[in-house]
């Protein structure tokens, strides 16, 4: 782990970040920073706002208060400039298209890391020979691997991964850990959510714990009226 003192400018920084929906706090205030080479695990039960946090950090949602800084500059969608790759609950893949066609679309949208081709990344996630198979005929785990291949392809330094271990077998979990290690060695950073850190094996990652806010923080709404956020 890097000490935050020797790197003046964090890759990602959250400053008293809050998100509320209809005056009910979903999470926050949060303060943390993420430097190159770091992998941080966001832990929390269902309803603690992990997915919402990733959406705020990626710019999909605007924070209610507080700031997200990317390389010290405020995050706006226009300034993302290939810095961030998001892997959400939904893979963002088209089932009618082949793995290769899906990856080509991703490079068109997000650019491509120098010296890498779609064929290479598909091989490195164990999908050699499936390049031209429509995704519809692949299993859920294989589709997840295609989504992971997209992360390797685009030049984003910051990965935001929502439940990357879901739907994966033991080999797949090892693959995610290997990808995260490699990404950290290249100087990239990753923020991953999980409702149990059982799968995370390499070293001891830094953790950010999110809790389901007590009723008092949710605009004093009685327990039974609280909408649980999946």
């Amino acid at each position: 782990m890097h000490d935050s003192a020797d790197e003046p400018r964090a890759l990602l920084q959250a400053q008293s970040l809050c998100f509320a929906r209809n005056d009910e706090a979903i999470f926050g205030p949060l303060d943390f920073s993420l430097h190159g080479g770091e992998t941080v695990l966001i832990e929390g039960d269902n309803g603690s706002g992990k997915t919402t946090l990733l959406k705020v950090l990626s710019g999909l949602l605007e924070p209610t208060s507080g700031k997200v800084l990317l390389h010290g500059a405020p995050l706006t969608l226009a300034k993302l400039s290939h810095q961030v790759a998001l892997l959400g609950h939904l893979p963002g893949l088209k089932l009618e298209l082949s793995a290769l066609e899906n990856l080509r679309f991703a490079t068109g949208l997000g650019g491509i890391r120098p010296g890498i081709t779609p064929h290479l990344v598909l091989a490195s996630v164990g999908l050699e020979g499936f390049e031209d198979t429509p995704l519809r005929t692949l299993s859920a785990g294989q589709r997840k691997r295609v989504a992971l291949a997209r992360l390797l392809l685009v030049p984003a330094a910051l990965w935001l991964l929502d439940e990357p271990y879901a739907n994966l077998d033991r080999g797949g979990i090892d693959l995610v850990n290997r990808l995260l290690d490699n990404h950290a060695h290249r100087g990239g950073a990753a923020l991953i959510t999980s409702h149990g850190a059982y799968a995370f094996t390499s070293g001891t990652p830094r953790r950010i714990a999110l809790h389901v806010p007590p009723p008092a923080q949710r605009g004093e709404v009685p327990e039974e009226r609280r909408g649980a956020e999946a």
């Binding site: 005056d23 009910e24 605009g219 004093e220 709404v221």
Partner: protein, 253 residues
């Protein structure tokens, strides 16, 4: 900040608006009722019958103020929608959505009275007159806004989406209006209008203006009442709503 700006700033806070509207509501209803009574007396008893249309023109005293209000309510809704989208003020969202059904009702009354007037005048319940057609499209726009607002689960997101639709409608409304006028002239529609360009006698005019005033005041009374209820629902978890509760509970016990 001068006191006027400060007043609006304070008005934007739901509890303040709730009390402010509550204070004004009885007065607004009273003023609207009195003005309507005076206006209707003038419209039905003192104004002379029209030399062409006879007594049937008197429906104009309902039709015209309602037509004005249908448009006014839309402008009010769109203006509040704009404020809600740009500055994310909760009160404006609520005001915009509260005025939609009222505006739709006024537009509906306009259409009904228009067709009631059309029967003795044109001999038919409905005619594709340019103004009536524009009113019909306006009613559809209202239905779209109301439908969208009720189709989305999250109340605030629903209000923002519906406000956005209202703004698109505002951009489109002039195009609709002029296209309908062009279409009407192309098809040689009826040329007799409910309020013609002809001069209107003062004894006929003052009841119209009084009734227009009454409908405006009623509109605000109605918007205030609806907004108060909507705010209570939106802010049901807040302290200021809680503070209101014991008093009402005590009176029920």
């Amino acid at each position: 900040m001068n006191s006027f700006v400060l007043f609006f700033h304070k008005l934007g806070s739901p509890p303040y608006f709730y009390r402010f509207a509550g204070k004004w509501l009885p007065w607004l209803y009273a003023i609207a009722l009195v003005a309507a009574a005076i206006g209707f007396y003038g419209a039905l008893f003192t104004a002379p019958a029209d030399y062409q249309q006879g007594d049937s023109f008197r429906i104009m005293y309902v039709h015209v103020p309602c037509a004005w209000m249908g448009l006014f309510a839309y402008l009010f809704m769109a203006a509040n929608g704009f404020i809600a989208l740009v500055w994310r003020i909760k009160l404006s969202e609520t005001l915009a959505m509260a005025s939609a059904p009222i505006g739709a009702a006024f537009t509906f009354i306009t259409l009904v009275t228009g067709s009631l007037w059309g029967k003795p005048t044109w001999g038919t319940w409905w005619t594709w007159d340019a103004r009536l057609t524009s009113e019909l499209v306006l009613l559809f726009l209202y239905f779209g806004v109301i439908g969208l607002y009720h189709a989305i689960e999250d109340r605030r997101q629903a209000a923002r989406a519906a406000a956005f639709l209202a703004l698109i409608g505002i951009v489109n409304l002039p195009i609709v209006h002029y296209s309908v006028i062009w279409w009407n002239t192309l098809h040689q529609g009826q040329t007799v209008n409910l309020i013609g360009p002809s001069k209107i006698a003062p004894s006929m005019l003052w009841p119209l203006l009084t009734l227009a005033f009454a409908t405006h005041v009623y509109f605000f009374a109605s918007v205030f009442a609806r907004t108060r209820v909507a705010l209570l629902e939106l802010e049901s978890g807040k302290d200021w709503v809680r503070a209101l509760l014991p008093a009402t509970q005590a009176s029920h016990d």
